[in-house]
């Protein structure tokens, strides 16, 4: 059964919770109280919705990918989050949290970023609302997502390189949390996915579920060109775009499929498939599935896609997995790369490497999807990846 809210301990069954240093606990309590208040306040929704409409460009369209549909014998629709301002779904969350930051009277914002999309979306929201912004980004990601680093800096944000670990998303989250332990009095941490200690996974889900709610009205079965979906597919890094589109459908008879990064292949051990190949434990303040060794050390993930290169996943996905509300699969770097070219050359859309994982799964599974109405959450556009993709190919 889908849960409206985690329990009073911030749990989705055994997942979630608050495994955070005591220094942060009062801030987490305050955040829960303030978000609960704001979310019940029509004034907050008015302000948020008008920005989502006029600044972000919501609702994002649903586009029927006619040529791919014909080629693979499925009815393929794309939920165009790539057309949201800044080029990904991440902005749905950052506008909401930046407005909340203003309500809490905190002048400074920090964030982590992997692909740079969350960093750009946070930098954008902070520029819009006049907030100071610092984004932590792993060294390796700074290199492979250079375009987004330039964008953040243009938006007035300080990008701080993180050199610990593998210099990827996990390390950036840890660095942001360490900053927050020191700065908590005047700083809000805008986390970029449905991860972290309660109330973050719940709050980010509430801010992202607009994707699925729009889809419900856009594909309500009221006309032949707007059939109800049989299958909804989304890539899963931390899991925010997937949670955003799945949540309104969880528990219905729509088949929900989350696609994780298999990297060099699951058997290589170098991947980001925490749900498919990980085990339960605690990462970044939350009980969830993660990649770990037999002594409980968190392992480095690997994915060609910086946004999926993370050894954990949001706790509500762990709950969805165990209850069977969503099924999870994975595709390799190579399959994702092929899918980028396929969508670009067949439909004229260059997707983010993250989103391409979802498409790659659909292509692989096409024989079992014949005639079905399949919606892919196209979580972001691929400009940021062009350089990397050209080098790889």
């Amino acid at each position: 059964m889908r849960l409206d809210k985690p329990d009073t301990q911030g749990r989705f069954a055994q997942f979630g919770g608050q495994f955070a240093p005591e220094t942060l606990m009062p801030a987490l309590e305050e955040l829960e109280t303030e978000f609960t208040k704001a979310w019940a306040d029509p004034g907050f929704h008015d302000e948020l919705n008008s920005l989502l409409r006029d600044f972000v460009g919501r609702p994002t369209p649903v586009y029927r990918a006619a040529r791919l549909s014909a080629q693979y014998g499925i009815e393929l629709y794309l939920k165009r989050e790539d057309l949201a301002h800044t080029g990904a779904h991440k902005i749905n969350n950052t506008i909401g949290q930046a407005l909340l930051t203003k309500r809490m009277g905190k002048p400074r914002v920090i964030a982590e970023t992997g692909a740079g999309q969350h960093g750009v979306a946070t930098a954008t929201a902070c520029a819009l609302l006049g907030q100071e912004c610092v984004v932590y980004m792993g060294e390796k990601d700074i290199e492979r997502q250079a375009l987004n680093v330039h964008r953040m800096r243009m938006l007035g944000t300080e990008v701080r390189p993180v050199t610990s670990g593998a210099g990827t998303l996990k390390d950036a989250v840890s660095a942001a949390m360490r900053d927050w332990v020191a700065s908590v009095d005047g700083t809000h941490y805008i986390i970029g996915s449905v991860v972290g200690p309660h109330p973050f996974p719940w709050m980010v889900r509430e801010l992202q579920k607009v994707i699925g709610e729009e889809l419900e009205t856009q594909m309500d079965g009221s006309a032949p060109e707007r059939p109800q979906p049989d299958v909804i597919v989304a890539c899963v890094g931390g899991g925010s775009n997937a949670m955003g589109i799945f949540y309104p459908y969880a528990g219905s008879d729509v088949d929900l499929v989350g696609v994780e990064a298999a990297g060099y292949g699951l058997e290589s051990g170098q991947h980001g498939a925490s749900l498919v190949a990980g085990s339960p434990g605690v990462i970044h303040g939350s009980m969830t599935y993660l990649l770990q060794d037999d002594q409980g050390q968190i392992l480095e993930a690997h994915s060609i896609s910086a946004g999926l290169d993370y050894p954990g996943v949001g706790p509500e996905h762990a709950y969805f997995k165990d209850t069977g509300l969503v099924r999870y699969a994975s595709v390799t770097d190579e399959e994702a790369l092929e899918a980028v070219y396929l969508l670009a050359s067949t439909e004229g859309i260059i997707p983010a490497l993250e989103s391409a994982h979802g498409l790659a799964w659909i292509i692989k599974e096409a024989p079992s999807l014949q005639g079905k109405v399949v919606v892919l959450n196209l979580s972001g556009r691929g400009d940021k990846d062009v350089e990397l993709i050209v080098e790889q190919s």
């Binding site: 495994f19 240093p21 005591e22 332990v181 009095d185 434990g281 605690v282 002594q295 968190i298």
Partner: protein
């Protein structure tokens, strides 16, 4: 057993001083040589120890202890080595020793099994950096059964309601976080610790041990004047990270710990 901690703090109260509890990452510079560092600190006046299990993602630790953890892990340390070091330290120094870890290694082994292992190694207590009182009960219960105390934190940000919950859980001592931020050196002395101790004292007589950011004998002395104990980590780990071999690390620690030990006597 948590009794040795209780005895230590009451003895220190009688002597008008604070207890010095150095933190050291287990398995540095190598698993085989780790014990020599603890032995050197014991000789130089440490009253007990925090044996740190190296962890790949230490959210409460600054760059020095992060790097120490990474080095220890690549030298072959980990949970198993740390528990061995704990047993050796308790066995050879006889001083009350607590384990310092993050929550995931405990969960991975299983809370009951982990508590068994700490008990078998002679640990007096356990500190779990990312375990607030809200999530603590199942852990505390397992350790309590084996007479091992689960230490809980009080931070400068802790509200009165939270403070009461921490005290109600009856930790063997309260870890008073002397400064906002992660572990690491600070140039200024903590302005928080006196107020923190006073807030705890209004409700309870439980020992308060100050830690985080205490990196000079002067800072340690200021903390010792108000708290029951002082934890020094980064300043000592840095000595080890800067040393060329185990012998010179032990020598550097002997000097440094001697300075901190002399700062424990109250004015």
């Amino acid at each position: 057993m948590s009794e040795p901690l209780t005895e230590l703090f009451s003895r220190c109260r009688e002597e008008g001083r604070a207890a010095l509890l150095p933190y050291m990452t287990a398995g540095l510079p190598t698993p085989e040589e780790s014990l020599t560092l603890f032995a050197a600190m014991a000789e130089a006046g440490a009253d007990g120890f925090e044996v740190g299990i190296p962890y790949a993602d230490p959210l409460m630790d600054g760059p020095v202890i992060q790097a120490a953890g990474e080095r220890a892990l690549s030298a072959g340390s980990g949970v198993e080595v740390s528990l061995d070091v704990l047993r050796e330290v308790v066995g050879s120094t006889g001083k009350p020793t607590v384990v310092m870890t993050y929550v995931n290694p405990v969960l991975r082994m299983g809370i009951e099994a982990f508590a068994d292992r700490v008990a078998a190694a002679g640990g007096s207590g356990i500190i779990i950096a990312d375990l607030p009182v809200d999530e603590a009960e199942v852990f505390a219960a397992a350790f309590r059964k084996r007479d091992i105390g689960l230490v809980l934190f009080v931070a400068p940000t802790t509200t009165d309601v939270r403070l009461e919950r921490v005290l109600a859980a009856k930790p063997p001592f309260v870890y008073g976080i002397a400064d906002l931020g992660v572990t690491g050196a600070r140039t200024a002395a903590s302005t928080h610790i006196a107020a923190l101790v006073e807030r705890v004292r209004r409700h309870s007589d439980v020992p308060v041990v100050a830690g985080v950011g205490i990196s000079t004998p002067e800072q340690a002395h200021a903390a010792a004047c108000v708290a029951d104990g002082v934890i020094v980590g980064t300043a000592l780990v840095r000595e080890v990270m800067g040393a060329t071999d185990a012998a010179s690390a032990a020598e550097a620690l002997r000097l440094a710990v001697g300075g901190f030990a002399a700062a424990m006597q109250r004015d």
